[in-house]
Symmetry: C2
C-alpha cells in the first residue's frame, strides 16, 4: 500500500446543480493547478450536447463577419499566458453581514498556463469599425433567469479585448481544455476576475454601445450600501489579495518554529511585498517572496515566514499583500450586496500548546 497515495485531494463541493466546487487551495503547493483540482464555477447546467463542430463567429460592428473554425484559429501565432483565474465571489463566505450566493471560502482560484491565439489577431481580420466600443462574448451555457432563457454573456471594453494577452484559448497546461473547464474553446482575460473569461465560447459580437446583459449590468456589479449612481461599479480587475496555506485556521500547534506560508496575487501590476503579523497587527515582518523577476507577470507569488512561537496561548496571524500600484489589502473588506472582491487582510487564529 502506498501510504502517500491515501491522502488524495479533490474539489470541495458548494453546489451540485449547477456544479460549483472549490479547489483545496490550502494544500496546493504547485505553480500550476491541475485540471482535476481547478475550481468550477457554473451559472447554468453544462451545455448539451457538447459541441463537436467547433467554430467562433465574429460579427456586429465590423467590416466583415467571419466564421473561424478551430483549424482557422490555429493558423495564428500561438500565445501562452500564465495567469491566476479567480472567481469574483471568492471568499464571499467571509463577508459580515453575510450575503447571498455561493459561500466560497478561499478556493475559487486557480493558476495555470493557457495557450491559444490573441483575440486581437482574430478581431483585426474583421475590420472593426472605428466607433466600436465593446466586444460581447457568448458562451454555450444557458438557462432561465427572471423567466427568460439567457446565455452566459459578457463584454470587454475594446481596449482590453485588443490586448495581446486576451486570448481565445484551446489548451490548458499543454493539453486540450477539458469540457468542464469551458473547452474546447474559451476566452482567457488575465487580470480580470473569472467571469470575464467566458467558457464554451461560440459567438463574438462587436458593438457600438454598452452591453447590458444579466451578467454585466445586474450580476457582477458592486452594490455597496447605500447604492447610488456614484458607488455602483462593474466588477473588472482582481483586487490585491492573499491566503494563508499553512498553518490551517484554528489549528493547535506545539510551541516551536513553524513555517507560515501562502500565496498572494493581484490584477493589474504585480505583488510587491507581503507583510505578516503574529501579534494581531502590533508588529509586522516582511515575508520572503518566491518571485519571478518578470514585472508583467499575471501569476500569484508564494510567500513564507519562519516564526518561532515561544509563548503558549492564542495568536492571530495577519497577512497583508501590497501590489506595484501601492494598493494593499484593507482592514475591512468593502461590503457589497452581491459579495464580490473580498480582500480584507487575511487572518488565521492559532493556538499554541
Amino acid at each position: 500500500m502506498n501510504m502517500e497515495k491515501l491522502h488524495k485531494l479533490s474539489l470541495n463541493t458548494r453546489n451540485l446543480y449547477p456544479e460549483n466546487k472549490e479547489s483545496p487551495i490550502h494544500f496546493l503547493h504547485d505553480t500550476n493547478t491541475p485540471t482535476h483540482l481547478k475550481f468550477i464555477r457554473n451559472h447554468f447546467s453544462y451545455p448539451y450536447p457538447p459541441e463537436t463542430n467547433i467554430s467562433i463567429f465574429i460579427s456586429g460592428h465590423v467590416q466583415k463577419s467571419i466564421l473561424f473554425t478551430l483549424a482557422d484559429i490555429c493558423k495564428y501565432p500561438i500565445r501562452t499566458v500564465h495567469c491566476v483565474l479567480e472567481c469574483a465571489g471568492n471568499k464571499r463566505s467571509f463577508f459580515r453581514p453575510k450575503v447571498y450566493g455561493e459561500q466560497w471560502e478561499n478556493g475559487a482560484i486557480s493558476q495555470g498556463k493557457w495557450s491559444g491565439v490573441s483575440l486581437r489577431d482574430l478581431l483585426l481580420c474583421t475590420g472593426i469599425n472605428r466607433n466600436a466600443n465593446e466586444v460581447v462574448f457568448k458562451g454555450r451555457d444557458k438557462g432561465v433567469k427572471k423567466k427568460r432563457v439567457v446565455h452566459f454573456e459578457r463584454s470587454l471594453p475594446i481596449k482590453k479585448a485588443l490586448h495581446k494577452d486576451t486570448i481565445v484559448a484551446f489548451k490548458y497546461n499543454g493539453k486540450p481544455i477539458s469540457y468542464k473547464a469551458g473547452g474546447p474553446i474559451r476566452l482567457i482575460v488575465p487580470q480580470w476576475y473569472g467571469m470575464a473569461s467566458v467558457k464554451w465560447l461560440s459567438e463574438i459580437t462587436v458593438i457600438k454601445n454598452k452591453f447590458n446583459g444579466q451578467f454585466q449590468s445586474e450580476d457582477y456589479m458592486y452594490y455597496p450600501l447605500p447604492p447610488n449612481h456614484a458607488n455602483v461599479k462593474p466588477v473588472t480587475s482582481i483586487n490585491v489579495n492573499s491566503i494563508i496555506q499553512s498553518p490551517i485556521n484554528y489549528a493547535t500547534l506545539s510551541s516551536s518554529k513553524h513555517l507560515i506560508k501562502g500565496i498572494a496575487w493581484t490584477g493589474e501590476g504585480v505583488v510587491k511585498s507581503v507583510r505578516v503579523s503574529v501579534d494581531e497587527g502590533q508588529t509586522w515582518q516582511t515575508a520572503y517572496l518566491n518571485k519571478s523577476t518578470n514585472t508583467e507577470s499575471y501569476t500569484w507569488v508564494q510567500w513564507s515566514l519562519l516564526w518561532h512561537f515561544k509563548r503558549k496561548g492564542h495568536y492571530v496571524i495577519l497577512v497583508q499583500a501590497e501590489d506595484s500600484y501601492g494598493r494593499f489589502q484593507p482592514e475591512s473588506a468593502l461590503w457589497n450586496r452581491k459579495g464580490y472582491g473580498y480582500n480584507e487582510i487575511t487572518k488565521a487564529f492559532i493556538n499554541i500548546e
Copy 2:
C-alpha cells in the same frame, strides 16, 4: 458523454496530514453512505504498515486473557447494526465564539450497515471479573501528544461494552471495512459519538478503575464556561440534531413551491418529530418523516416539507428535531471550549427573487 456523471461527488477536505475530510452531506440522499463518501476523522497518521496478521487480544481484569484471530471471531453469530456515526466535533465551525479544532461544517456524519460480532460474546469468553468497571480499546494509530507517543485509546463503561449492539465489526455495507475507514477490524458503538468507535482495533483491556487516556479525560470532554467540577462532562451519546439538505444556505430561489428537506438524528431513543419554521420561528409546521417503524433504530430520519414561497425577499428557515426522550435542538448550542456536540436549531437563509 454522460452528463449526469459529470456531477461527481467527493469528500470536502479540512486537513490533509492527518487526513480529515467531511461528507458532501447536503447532496447525499441515500440511506447508506458509500465508503468513498464517508467522512474521515483521524487524530494521527494512518497506522503503518497495515496489519495483515489480524487479531484482537483481550486481557486485564479477566479470568483468562484470549487472543482472538479473525477466524476465531467469525465463529460467533454475525450481528449487523444500521447506525449513524457522527464526529463529536461535527458543526464545530458554527460555534460563536469560535473554537479551535477542525472546522467541520455539517458533513462529519455518515450512516451505514456495520456487521461483525457482539463484543459481549468475546468478553464473556474471558470471564470478566465481577468488579470490572470499564473496557479500554486501543487502536493501531499513534502519534505524539505532549511530547509522548500515545495510541488512540478510549474506554466504555462495562454496561455499554456488554450491549448486544456494541460490535467488533469487519464489514461495512456488506463489504470488508476499508483500511481508511478503520478496517480490517474496528469497534462500532451505536448511539455514541464517533470517537467511541475505535478504528484499527488491536487490544481490549478490562479495567477496575477509571481510564484516563488523552482522548478520554482531556479531549472529548465538554468544558463549558466557567469550567468547574459540576459542568465538565465526558462526551458520550449523540445529541438530537438535524441538517437542511435543500435548499442550500444563502441560495437565491424563484418565488414558487420548493421542497425543504433534510435529515434528523439522535443518540439514545429515536427522532419523534421535526418542525420547520419559514418565518424565523413565529409559526411552525410539522415536517413529513420518512421513518421506519422500528423504535430501536439507530438511523437518521429523512424529513421534508413542501412550501410555497410567495413573498419575495429574505427568509430564515429554522428546523428543530425532537427525540423520544423529549430532548430537542436548543435555541443556542451549549458552548464548550473544545467545540463538541453542536446541535443548535438548524438555520438556512434564503432569498426569494
